[in-house]
């Protein structure tokens, strides 16, 4: 009997896009497309079970073995540093982690830089590598208003199209790292479900290459 593969997918647009890649790779689960509030979907004939989880929680499900594999943004992996295998860049959900500030911002090295962000670990690591003293202000949303209200000098956040920044009179001043969706696996599951995970990775890799084009 085939071993059941438990897959954690990020809820939302990215998750739907990624599901279609899994479907093409031979792991369909038609029930997942039905509207409703259900979060777990199973297709016994293909030995696959999908969970919709909050994007920032995918890595936790995979690290702790509740899911064997999953898809998480590189931002989440850099922020939480889970102990997992990062097997593939799916070349989708592309954006970047950037530093943004008000259009008239000028960095004053004589002062501690106030940085508002959801991504404290990434921000701390980035500025530590530059030797810049910073004060991190951890926020959970609407980061863009922090510089406008004088709460911070800059923000570190994900930028997709830049429209939100523009509408709030902010501009990108530095790019920290490009972000995209990554295929991750639990280390123990990878050993015990190797054949299934490996063939899935190979199939997804071909699709990821197509995403590049």
């Amino acid at each position: 009997m085939k071993q059941m593969l438990n897959v954690a997918l990020p809820k939302g647009r990215l998750g739907e896009k990624v599901y279609s890649m899994f479907e093409k790779a031979g792991y369909p689960c038609p029930a997942i497309k039905e509207a409703g509030r259900k979060l777990i979907f199973e297709n016994k004939s293909c030995a696959v079970r999908y969970f919709w989880v909050k994007p920032s929680d995918v890595a936790i499900y995979v690290e702790r073995g509740a899911a064997d594999i999953g898809v998480a943004g590189k931002d989440i992996l850099l922020e939480y540093e889970p102990d997992i295998y990062e097997l593939l860049d799916l070349n989708t959900g592309k954006c970047k982690m950037a530093v943004a500030a008000k259009k008239d911002f000028r960095d004053d090295n004589g002062r501690t830089l106030r940085v508002a962000t959801k991504f404290s670990n990434i921000a701390a690591g980035y500025y530590m590598s530059k030797g810049r003293d910073i004060d991190i202000i951890h926020l959970n949303g609407s980061i863009e208003i922090a510089p406008i209200l004088g709460l911070s000098d800059v923000i570190v956040d994900i930028v997709e199209t830049g429209t939100t920044l523009k509408e709030n009179d902010l501009k990108i001043i530095e790019t920290i790292v490009p972000i995209s969706a990554r295929f991750i696996a639990n280390k123990s599951s990878y050993k015990f479900k190797y054949n299934a995970i490996d063939s899935l990775v190979k199939n997804l890799a071909r699709q990821a290459e197509d995403n590049c084009d």
Binding site: I60, E63, R64, G65, D83, I84, Y85, E86, L87, L88, D89, N186, K187, S188, S189, K191, F192, Y194
Partner: protein, 371 residues
């Protein structure tokens, strides 16, 4: 089972590991819970987690609750004087859990082999690691890697020192795409990067791995290093449970040679971790070589975590009028039949029992049977 007392699986595992290690002549090494903080601050990178619980002793010395056993053993054992010391331990350590970010008390059982380490010593430690895993579960895998081979490949690639840690980090994640990006940024020639790419993709039985390794590592890595690695692995009885996987990486400032991690089905993280640590010995000004491993028992709580159906076999509810001697004798009579007995002065609400007996004015009445 010891006598009539069932052991929980962790206790059973500890007993069987201890008797396994003793049957190989390893002697128990008992140590204090505390160690000078300085030992850990000087060897921070050797520790699995950053945090150490520190406190000031009555003499003003900064002390720590042990976050690790190996460092204490290396610090406190006498020089082996050309011999090999074989020690095992069963200790609690205190470190920050990666998942909860809080301090946790973790029971650890492990062994250290210190002195004139030869290939046979490494082979024996790997054999014991495999046997230890077999005591934990029937379904297990020991991932084995060689840091000497990995170092050889990094030298071949001419990876600058400042980027080695990044490369090793990506190897640990099996992160081929970031490796490709970084190697291209470092302008490592494609044919040299291809060797690293192949090495990282190795994940399988020793036979298939050695085939692949011989194809890519000839002229890249010292032949003696390669043949010693192959010879040790090929000598293992339990080779079918060995997986060659170069993503098992540890800090190359402390570890060298063979490193390994053990996994059992149903537990999300590795339950066993070990390797050769001659470099740590050197850092601590010891001339000998060393190898060891630890089994992390906190990880095993997830395995076979079944709850007992009943908290107690029999509950006796007594009143205030009954003679103590009569109560005691009635309970002991039931205990003789291998039943646990809990005496209470009122009917319990949240205890699951097989049988409930009431004793009123010296009379025994069966009230309820659930089994």
């Amino acid at each position: 089972m010891i006598g009539n007392f069932p052991l929980n699986s962790n206790e059973e595992i500890i007993f069987s590991l201890r008797s396994l290690f003793e049957s190989y002549g390893y002697s128990l090494y008992k140590m204090s819970k505390f160690e000078e903080y300085d030992l850990y601050s000087k060897n921070k990178e050797f520790l699995i987690s950053d945090g150490v619980i520190a406190f000031t002793d009555t003499n003003g010395k900064l002390m720590a609750l042990k976050p690790d056993v190996t460092l204490s053993i290396v610090k406190n054992t006498a020089n082996s004087k050309g011999m090999i010391q074989k020690l095992y331990y069963n200790e609690n350590v205190y470190r920050v859990s990666k998942s909860s970010h809080n301090f946790k008390e973790i029971m650890q059982v492990g062994l250290e082999c210190i002195g004139k380490i030869d290939s046979f010593s490494v082979f024996e430690v790997l054999t014991l690691a495999l046997k230890s895993l077999s005591l934990v579960s029937q379904s297990y895998i020991l991932d084995v890697s060689s840091l000497d081979i990995l170092k050889g490949v990094l030298d071949f690639l001419n990876v600058p020192n400042g980027f080695r840690a990044d490369i090793i980090h990506y190897i640990g994640e099996k992160n081929q795409h970031e490796l490709a990006r970084l190697c291209s940024e470092l302008q490592i020639p494609t044919e040299r990067y291809a060797v690293l790419k192949e090495l990282v993709s190795i994940n399988g039985s020793p036979e298939s791995a050695f085939d692949k390794m011989n194809g890519i590592l000839k002229g890249v890595v010292d032949e003696n290093t390669l043949s010693e690695f192959e010879n040790i692995i090929n000598a293992l009885d339990d080779r079918k449970c060995v997986n060659i996987d170069f993503s098992v990486v540890d800090d190359i400032n402390y570890y060298n040679g063979i490193v390994f991690k053990g996994f059992v089905e149903g537990v999300p993280n590795s339950v066993l971790s070990g390797g050769r640590y001659d470099s740590l010995m050197k850092k601590m000004k010891r001339s000998e070589k060393a190898i060891g491993f630890a089994v992390y028992l906190d990880m095993l709580e997830h395995l076979n975590a079944k709850r007992e159906e009943y908290d107690v076999d029999t509950v006796i509810v007594y009143d205030g009028q009954t003679d103590f001697d009569f109560l005691q004798k009635t309970a002991d009579g039931i205990r003789k039949e291998n039943n646990s007995v809990l005496l209470l002065n009122d009917r319990p609400e949240d205890i699951r029992y097989k049988r409930l007996i009431k004793i009123i004015n010296g009379e025994v009445t069966d009230i309820e049977t659930n089994a």
